[in-house]
């Protein structure tokens, strides 16, 4: 008898462990090929960002005039591909200010990841608060907030960012703020939709009957439901934010030289595309890979967490 009880307890515990929500979700995520590819690329990029000083052979802002015998916009020189060992090795060449392009691209990973994460974090926090209050309070608060966000959404995001940065003044911080502002409506809408779908549920009414305050109900009972779609949207949003920030920098509105930011690097050398295409090619590829990683991860997460959002 004792043995049977122990065995059944063991089975129940095992089932419980193997079927916990997190485990199930993780298993679903790992079954998504795009999520796994996205995560792998991102993992690699995070490592590059962390260990940039170890990977980069030069300081990204170090001008090599007088240090080495290299000329402005020199082509890539890779020993393994037959480049003479008399020359210093620059695997992505040298930029217009005689700086090692590879080191700049490596350090650029830090900027891109920081830009993506910081703008989206800001937008998610503000968007969540706005969306939560709009959905929970309803009535005129909902109307006012949502109409304001509708207006923000009526502008193409890059265009509104350009206008905001022109007003605030160029620079990376203002560019980040502009991108964050224009992405608020998406997150607010996601959260509002989640809040509206669960706020009439019996368990929310029960929480209210037990004397839970509005803030407690909103943040502990309702908002956790908005987390999965919010994670999906935020992951996809990071890619867009990185693209928009790079575009602003390309136009001279975002990060300013000599910052090793990929958009800025592209913008600085864009007129040299016919003479030194490598200086345009590498930063662009870096942007593309990073954005692609977030997009793949976002797509995979969406399919795993919330297939209803699948487009």
């Amino acid at each position: 008898m004792t043995t049977i009880t122990e065995t059944s307890t063991l089975i129940t515990q095992k089932d419980y462990r193997s079927n916990s929500l997190w485990r199930l979700t993780l298993r679903r995520i790992f079954r998504q090929r795009s999520a796994v590819i996205g995560m792998s690329i991102l993992g690699f990029l995070v490592l590059v960002a962390i260990f940039a000083p170890l990977i980069a052979p030069y300081d990204p802002e170090q001008v090599l005039i007088g240090v080495e015998d290299v000329s402005k916009r020199a082509d890539p020189c890779i020993y393994l591909l037959g480049c003479s060992r008399d020359q210093p090795q620059h695997i992505m060449g040298v930029d217009g200010n005689v700086r090692d392009e590879f080191s700049r691209v490596v350090y650029g990973t830090r900027y891109s990841l920081f830009i993506g994460m910081s703008t989206v974090s800001f937008a998610v926090i503000v968007g969540t608060l706005l969306g939560a209050f709009a959905g929970y309070l309803g009535g005129w608060v909902d109307n006012v907030i949502m109409r304001l966000l509708d207006v923000l959404m009526a502008f193409p995001s890059l265009l509104l960012s350009i206008t905001i940065v022109t007003v605030l003044g160029k620079g990376l911080e203002n560019a980040l703020l502009a991108i964050a502002i224009v992405s608020i409506p998406i997150y607010a809408r996601v959260v509002r939709a989640s809040v509206l779908s669960v706020k009439e549920n019996p368990y929310v009414a029960a929480s209210r009957a037990l004397g839970g305050s509005h803030l407690h109900i909103l943040f502990s009972r309702i908002l956790p439901n908005a987390v999965p779609p919010l994670i999906v949207q935020a992951t996809l949003g990071i890619g867009t934010a990185i693209l928009d920030a790079a575009a602003l920098s390309f136009l001279g509105l975002g990060a300013q030289p000599p910052t090793p930011e990929w958009g800025t690097m592209l913008g600085m050398e864009r007129n040299q595309v016919f003479t030194a295409p490598h200086l345009v090619f590498f930063p662009g590829i870096a942007i593309m890979i990073t954005v692609l990683a977030f997009n793949l991860l976002g797509d995979g997460l969406r399919d795993a967490i919330d297939p209803r959002l699948k487009q």
């Binding site: 795009s34 109409r147 304001l148 509708d150 207006v151 923000l152 009526a154 502008f155 193409p156 995001s157 890059l158 265009l159 509104l160 350009i162 206008t163 905001i164 022109t166 007003v167 605030l168 003044g169 890619g239 693209l243 790079a246 575009a247 390309f250 136009l251 001279g252 509105l253 958009g263 592209l266 864009r270 595309v273 016919f274 295409p277 345009v280 090619f281 930063p283 662009g284 942007i287 593309m288 890979i289 954005v291 692609l292 997009n295 793949l296 797509d299 699948k310 487009q311």
Partner: protein, 359 residues
């Protein structure tokens, strides 16, 4: 049906009003004295006072907004700081180039995106599907300006002296000029008048103008110059349209009526193109409408790279010169255009999906 249209038009009015408030507020948030920003640091107090009176800057803010709204409704966006010319005239001169580029990009996106999405859905999980989806994923992740530069490098430099060579900048080769249709047909038009600007607007769209005037050399040259920027600009909309078409088709293809059509013996091509696509079209059309914003914003970058004298290019120049009236006007015009196009898309639902008409 009319009720639905009226409801949609009415719901767009607050958004249009909001757009004007936002752009007005942004203009007022520019740090520093607007007089000195526009007339220069050396502007004297008297000059600035006269400037404030002239532009109504000495009046309460709500009166200023009233003046601004009145001006915008009359098509008056003020004067460009950099060019010392009315912004409206600059817009009329430059918009056709951007519209032509945007339409060409949209055409490429639709003509490639929809068939790619359909093929992808029909041959789900096949190598073709995987290739289309990988391409679409890469397409949405690519910076437009980078692709533009790379295309210019490949087609203008690497493929030089081959029949595939394409020009990297400009709208026409030096020595070739597009003669406005009203000049070819010898219509009496006084330069500078409204009629002139109206005709000039259409004549500036070289593709349309050369078709009207049957000038095939200009048409060929225009198209040659248009391909690269239009293709670069089309990548993001193309990818999004392909993805949306695929998922929308997949949804529809598993419905019962599609199975019924197949069971009836309808040939597969008709099942897909007539039965399935027609019902899958609604989200595709919606997403096409939403891409208009992406196209106009992308035009700023593409025109800068390909030396197109469109609104995007002038916006870039305005950014560097902090020429706010131009930036403001462009933002207002594009945002309004964006709202109006999406309104038209909403109204087009009636024709695509009769159920909406019945509701």
């Amino acid at each position: 049906m009319i009720q639905y249209i009226i409801r949609r038009v009415l719901s767009a009015i607050p958004v249009l009003f909001g757009i004007l408030i936002v752009t007005f507020a942004l203009a007022r948030m520019i740090p520093g004295d607007p007089c000195k920003a526009i007339l220069g640091e050396k502007a004297t107090v008297e000059v600035c006072e006269r400037f404030a009176r002239e532009y109504g800057l000495d009046k309460p803010i709500y009166v200023q907004f009233g003046i601004y709204m009145n001006d915008v409704l009359h098509g008056d966006f003020g004067e460009s700081i950099r060019f010392s010319r009315p912004v409206t005239i600059i817009l009329v001169e430059r918009l056709p180039t951007t519209i032509e580029l945007g339409l060409a990009a949209l055409l490429i996106a639709v003509l490639i995106g929809i068939p790619a999405g359909i093929i992808s859905a029909v041959y789900r999980n096949s190598p073709v599907d995987v290739a289309v989806m990988v391409g679409a994923n890469a397409g949405v992740s690519m910076p437009v300006y980078w692709l533009g530069l790379m295309l210019a490098y490949i087609f203008a430099l690497l493929l030089k002296d081959t029949p595939l060579w394409l020009p990297p900048t400009g709208r026409l080769t030096a020595g070739i000029a597009s003669t406005p249709f009203y000049e070819v047909f010898e219509w009496p038009v006084v330069e500078g008048g409204i009629k002139y600007h109206f005709f000039e607007f259409f004549a500036n769209m070289y593709v349309i103008n050369s078709i009207i005037t049957q000038d095939w050399e200009v048409l060929r040259d225009t198209l040659k110059h248009l391909i690269l920027p239009a293709f670069a600009l089309s990548t993001i909309p193309l990818s999004i349209i392909a993805r949306m078409t695929r998922s929308s088709m997949l949804e529809v293809l598993k419905l019962d009526y599609v199975r019924t059509a197949r069971a009836k013996g309808v040939i597969e091509r008709l099942v897909i193109l007539k039965h399935a696509l027609r019902n899958a079209l609604l989200p595709i059309v919606t997403v096409i409408g939403l891409q208009v914003g992406t196209l106009f914003a992308g035009a700023v970058l593409t025109e800068t790279i390909f030396g197109f004298a469109g609104v995007g290019r002038i916006l870039y120049e305005a950014i560097t010169a902090r020429d706010f009236p131009i930036i403001q006007a462009f933002t207002v015009v594009i945002a309004i255009g964006y709202v109006v196009i999406n309104l038209l898309v909403d109204i087009s639902y009636i024709f695509i999906d009769p159920r909406i008409r019945l509701d």
